[in-house]
């Protein structure tokens, strides 16, 4: 009974989160919502009796992909100082941090 | 008896998580929210892990539970310092009663 309630709440939250990841106008908010989605998806995999998939989801889905998205988000703002761009001659810029 | 004490500690941890969430929603600025957040991380999870470790069946499980707690402590302390430092570098002023 209580287990079914847990599953139901988890499913509804996952659907709501997935929808808001897709429609969010703010990219940063979408990334943070995606990280939360990965965390809750790992819970869902545990409830589906697949702890190995939950391990992969926690490590890759929310941890690694979240960090990569956050890193990529910084590259999306055009024309900042210290950025290496393909349409510009490169020289003496501080790459990375 | 052991089960009752363990369950007591697990239930004791829940209010700290709830207060962490309430603090995240209600407190006025970044620094005070960080404060609420670390209470949930450290004390709430600490009580839950203590309660589960009391009921654990093997020493290996106890060691694993406390390893989890240690990692969360390390992660929350590190990231809270990083966020607070970055907020200060962004010139976000701490909330005071007069400026509110």
């Amino acid at each position: 009974m209580i287990v079914s309630a847990f599953d139901l709440v988890l499913c509804l939250t996952l659907v709501w989160l997935a929808w808001h990841v897709l429609v969010s106008p703010d990219l940063f908010r979408a990334v943070v919502l995606f990280i939360s989605f990965g965390l809750l998806m790992a819970l869902a995999w545990v409830r589906l009796l697949a702890p190995d998939v939950a391990l992969a989801e926690a490590a890759i889905g929310s941890g690694l992909t979240g960090a990569l998205f956050l890193s990529a988000l910084r590259r999306l703002t055009p024309g900042r100082r210290g950025e290496r761009r393909v349409d510009r001659k490169e020289g003496g810029d501080d790459e990375g941090l | 008896m052991i089960d009752i004490v363990g369950t007591f500690f697990v239930i004791l941890g829940i209010p700290f998580f709830l207060s962490g969430t309430i603090g995240l929603l209600r407190l006025p600025d970044i620094y005070t929210r960080l404060h609420a957040l670390t209470k949930a991380d450290n004390v709430g999870l600490g009580f839950i892990i203590l309660g589960l470790a009391i009921q654990a069946t093997s020493w290996f499980e106890v060691a694993k539970l406390f390893l989890i707690w240690f990692l969360v402590l390390l992660a929350s302390a590190t990231s809270c310092h990083l966020v607070a430092d970055a907020a200060l570098r962004h010139n976000i002023k701490p909330w005071t009663k007069e400026r509110a």
Partner: protein, 96 residues
Amino acid sequence: MTTLYVGLALVLLFSVIVGLLRIMWGPTAADRMMAAQLFGTCGVAILLLLSKGLGQLIVEDVALVFALLSALATVAFVRRTWTKEGPRQTKRLDHD
């Protein structure tokens, strides 16, 4: 036993769902990121309670990976996204 522990996990899940509001509102980027960090800790607690309540000891390993990787996103955020010239510049106040 199962009812109690899964019930407590459900309470924590509700607390996560309420915390989603801070991600939706969050005035600055750091507020959103902190909410995600709270979800990581709540996720560890939910997994441990589920592991106890449903008798699946292997789930504790998933909680271990959660704990191990919870700092990764925040560190990437502080070092990569929210740097001084980051995409979401917060409103600049006067210097100290």
